[in-house]
Subunit: 347 residues, 3 copies
C-alpha cells in the first residue's frame, strides 16, 4: 500500500506555501536525480541548481529565494527553512514502522524489572534484574540490558546494543546497533609485575535526545559517571573513555575518540577521526578539524586543527608553507654561495 500526500497538506505541515497545484499528490520524496513524476524532490543549495535540468521530479521543495526565476513547469513548495522542512516531510511521507508494544515471548526479563506496558521488547532481548524500561521505549532484537539500567520513555535501543549494569539512557535517545555502553573503563595501575586492573565501579549516563551511531563505545567511569549531555549526536565507531563528560548538543563524527577524564563543553564539534587526549578541558563551542588531535586544553570557543591541534587558521598557514620547504632550502643555499663570493672578494 502506498499512501500519497497532497502538496497543500504537506505545505501546511511545515508552514510553507504552494506555488502551482496544491492538489499534487506526492507518493515519495526522492532526490533530483531519482525522483519521478509522482515524487516530491528538494533543492537546498544554489550550487545544485544545475541538477534541476533533466530532473523528472513532479514537485519541488525549496526556499522562496531559490524559487525566483524558476519556470512554472512543476508545483513548488516554498518553505522559509527548507532543510528543516525536508526533515519534517521525510518523517511524514516515509514514516518509520514502529514496533508494537509488548514483550516478545523469547525476551528474558530479570527479577524486579519495571517494563512499561507501552514499551516494546523484541525477540531475544535480555534485561537484567532491577532494570526499568519506560513508556514507548523500544528495545530491539538481541539487545542486552544489564542490571539496574534505565531506558527512558521513547528511547530506541537497536539490535545487538549492549548496556552494562547501571547504565542510564535518557528520554527519546537513540542507540544504534552494536553500541556498547558502560563497559569497563581502561584503568590499570602498572607496576613492574604487570598491569593491575582498577575495578570500574561507576556508570555511563546518556541524557535525553542523544543519538549514538552504530558500534560506538562509551565506557563507564571508575567511581562516578561518564556522561553524554542532552541532544548530543554521536556517529559510528566513536570511542568515549571513562570519566569523560560531553556537554549538550555536541557533534562527534565518525571514528572520533575521546580519552579518559576529558571534559567537553556544550556544542563542541569533533570532525571525523579527530581525537582528544585524556584529562583535559575543551571549551564550549570548540570545533576540531578532521584527523586532528587535541593534546592540550582549549580554553575558549574556537576552531582548531592539526596534530597537535592549534588555531585552525594557523594550522592552514603552516600546511600551506610545507610545499615551499624545498624552495626555501634552495634559496638559502644560493644566498650562502653569494655571500661567500662577496666575502671572498672583500678579503
Amino acid at each position: 500500500v502506498t499512501t500519497a500526500f497532497r502538496l497543500g497538506e504537506l505545505a501546511a505541515a511545515v508552514g510553507g506555501e504552494v506555488v502551482g497545484d496544491p492538489g499534487f499528490e506526492a507518493r515519495g520524496i526522492r532526490d533530483l536525480e531519482h525522483a519521478g513524476p509522482g515524487d516530491l524532490s528538494f533543492l537546498l543549495r544554489a550550487a545544485y541548481l544545475d541538477r534541476l535540468e533533466g530532473s523528472r521530479a513532479g514537485a519541488l521543495l525549496l526556499s522562496p529565494e531559490l524559487a525566483r526565476g524558476l519556470g512554472g513547469e512543476r508545483p513548488l513548495l516554498l518553505a522559509p527553512d527548507p532543510g528543516l522542512a525536508l526533515a519534517h516531510l521525510l518523517a511524514i511521507v516515509h514514516p518509520e514502522e514502529s514496533p508494537v508494544p509488548g514483550v516478545h515471548p523469547t525476551a528474558v526479563v530479570g527479577e524486579g524489572c519495571d517494563v512499561d506496558p507501552a514499551a516494546h521488547l523484541g525477540p531475544y532481548v535480555v534485561v537484567g534484574d532491577g532494570s526499568r524500561v519506560e513508556a514507548g521505549a523500544s528495545v530491539r532484537s538481541h539487545a542486552v540490558i544489564g542490571r539496574r539500567c534505565r531506558i527512558g520513555a521513547g528511547a530506541v535501543i537497536h539490535p545487538h546494543a549492549v548496556l552494562y549494569d547501571r547504565t542510564e539512557v535518557g528520554e527519546r535517545a537513540i542507540v544504534h546497533a552494536g553500541v556498547v555502553l558502560g563497559a569497563d573503563g581502561f584503568g590499570y595501575e602498572s607496576r613492574a609485575d604487570g598491569h593491575h586492573k582498577v575495578p570500574q565501579v561507576g556508570r555511563t549516563v546518556v541524557e535525553e535526545e542523544v543519538e549514538i551511531g552504530a558500534l560506538s563505545a562509551i565506557d563507564r567511569a571508575t567511581v562516578e559517571e561518564t556522561r553524554i549531555g542532552a541532544g548530543t549526536k554521536i556517529d559510528n565507531l566513536v570511542q568515549v573513555g571513562h570519566n569523560v563528560t560531553v556537554g549538550n548538543r555536541c557533534i562527534l563524527c565518525g571514528q572520533a575518540g575521546i580519552a579518559g577524564s576529558a571534559r567537553l563543553g556544550d556544542g563542541v564539534v569533533l570532525a571525523g577521526q579527530a581525537g582528544i587526549s585524556g584529562h583535559l578541558e575543551v571549551a564550549s563551542g570548540v570545533r576540531v578539524a578532521a584527523k586532528s588531535a587535541v593534546l592540550q586544553e582549549v580554553g575558549e570557543s574556537r576552531d582548531v586543527g592539526g596534530v597537535p591541534a592549534i588555531d585552525l587558521r594557523r594550522w592552514k598557514r603552516q600546511v600551506a608553507m610545507l610545499p615551499r620547504l624545498g624552495e626555501l632550502a634552495r634559496r638559502l643555499r644560493a644566498l650562502e654561495k653569494r655571500l661567500e663570493r662577496m666575502e671572498r672578494r672583500e678579503e
Copy 2:
C-alpha cells in the same frame, strides 16, 4: 579425521607441476617455520629464501624461478602464480565447514519472508517481514536481518551482524561478525535550538562478492542508496557514511573512514586509518596512504598521502625536509650575522 592430499593432484588443481615425488601426501599447509615432514609449505618471495634453511616442510610450493638452484631434498610444486595457487590449495586442503541448509528451530522468521530451502539460518537468527534469503546463503547465529532485506545466493552473514530494513547484500558477499549495514546516516539540521534529525529513508546496497570485515559500519542513505560496488573488499572497523558510493574492486583497509556523500571510483585503495572527507570525488585507481586524509577531490588516478593528502612523492619530499628545519633556521641565523657584519664594514 585428517585427509591427506597427493601432491600430484594438488598440482593438477592449480595447473602446476611437480618436481620430485608426486605421491607425497600433504596433510596440511603450514608456513616454513611450523611445517612438519607431512606438510606442504610455500615460498612466495625471494626475500624469504633464508627461511628454507631449517624448515622441516615435507614439500614446497613456489615459482619455477625461485626453484632454480634449490637442492632436491624435498618434492616441489611449481606454479606459475604461486600466490594464487596457494589461495586455491588452502581452500582444498583446509576447506571451510559449511553449515547444513535449513532453519534452526530458534530462528524467528517474519511474515512474508522467502527463505530458500537451500539456505541456512542459524540459532537465534531474526529475519524481519518480507525479507528474502536466496539459495546457498548462510545467516549465522544471532544475525539480525531487518524487513524487506535481500541476502543474495551464496552470501554469508556472520554472527551478530545487523542489517537494518531494506538492506541488500549481493551474491557470494561475505559480511563478518558485528558488521552493521544500513544504520541511520548521520544527518541533522542544526539550528539554535539543537540538532534536528533528518530521517534517513534510503538504504544500503552491497553488491556481489564484496567482503566486509568485522565491526564495520555502512550507513543507509538519506533518500537514495549507499552503495558498495562488486568485488570491493573492506577490512575491520571501517566507517562508510550515508550516500557514499564506493566503486568496484576497491580495497578499504582497517579503520579507514569515508564521510557522507563521497564518491569513490573503481579500484580505489585506502590504506589503514585513512579518511575521505564528505561530498567529494576520488577517481578510479587512486591510492591513499595510511593515516592520510583526503580533504579535496582527487580527479585522476594517482597515489596521495598526508593530511591534507597531496601527491605521495611530494608528501614524502616534505616529510624528508622536516628534520632539516632546525638546521635551516641555524644557517639562516648565521647568514644574517655574516651579512650584518659586511654591512657594518661597508658603512
Copy 3:
C-alpha cells in the same frame, strides 16, 4: 542491602595504616567531589590537594607523604602505594556480581563440548561443536563461541562477543562486549580480474590475563596464529590484523591499529589512534605517541611520534619549528633583498 567496611579492616587488607578512628565505617568509595560523610575517598596526586577543601568525604586514602600537614578532621588510611591500594579496595567495597555457575536453558551447546560444571553460560549463548569452557569461566548473554574453541578457567566473555572457530582465550582473560576474535584476516591475491580471497585457515590465541575492550577485532592468521601475549591490555575499537604477534604486558589504547604480520615485543605501548604498518618489528618497551604511525621497524626501546613516527623528542622539535616557517620565509626574503642591494652597490 548496603554493606559497610571498617577502615581498620580495609587498611589491613592493603597493608596500610589508619590515622584516626579505625572504626570508621565506609559504605562506598567515591571521588572527593561526590563522597559523603559515610564514604571513603582518595587522593593520589599532590596536584589534587586543593580538591580536599570542600570535600565531605568521611575518610581518605592517600600516601604517608601526602598526609603530612593535613589536619586531623577525618580518619586517614595511609598506604605506601595508594594507587594499587585503591584498586584492591574498590574490589572489596564494590564487588562485581558474579553470575551463578550453570548453563542457561536457552544456551545452545554443540556436540562434543566440554563445559565445566563451575562455568556459566548465559541466555542465548551459542557454543559450537567440540569447544571447551573451563572452570569458573563466564560466557555472558548472546556470546557466540565457534567450534573447537577454548575458554580458559576464570575467563569472562561479555555479551555479544564472537569467537570464530578454533579461537583460544587464556585463563582469567576478559573479553568485552562486541569483541570479534578470529575473523578472517584481510588477505587477497589481487590480479587484473579482481581480488582473490586467500582462505584464512589459522587461528587467534589470546593468552592469560589479557583484557580486550569493547568492539575490538583480532583477526585470525592465514595459516598459523595471531597471538596476544599474557597480561596485555587492549582498549576499545582496536584493530589487530592477521598474523600479528603482540608481546606480554603491552598496552593498546583506544582505536589503535596494527596491520597484518607486525610483531610487537613486550611492554609496547600504543597511545590512542596510533597505527603500526604491516610486516614490521617493534622492539620491547617502545612507546608510540597518540595519532602516530609507525611505518618502519623500531629496533630498540624508545618513544616515537609523528607520521611517519620518529624519535619522540625529534618529532616534538619539528612540531615546534612549524609555527616559525612563515617567519623564516620572511627573514630569508629580507636577506635576499639586502644581499641584492649590496651586490648592486659592489658593481
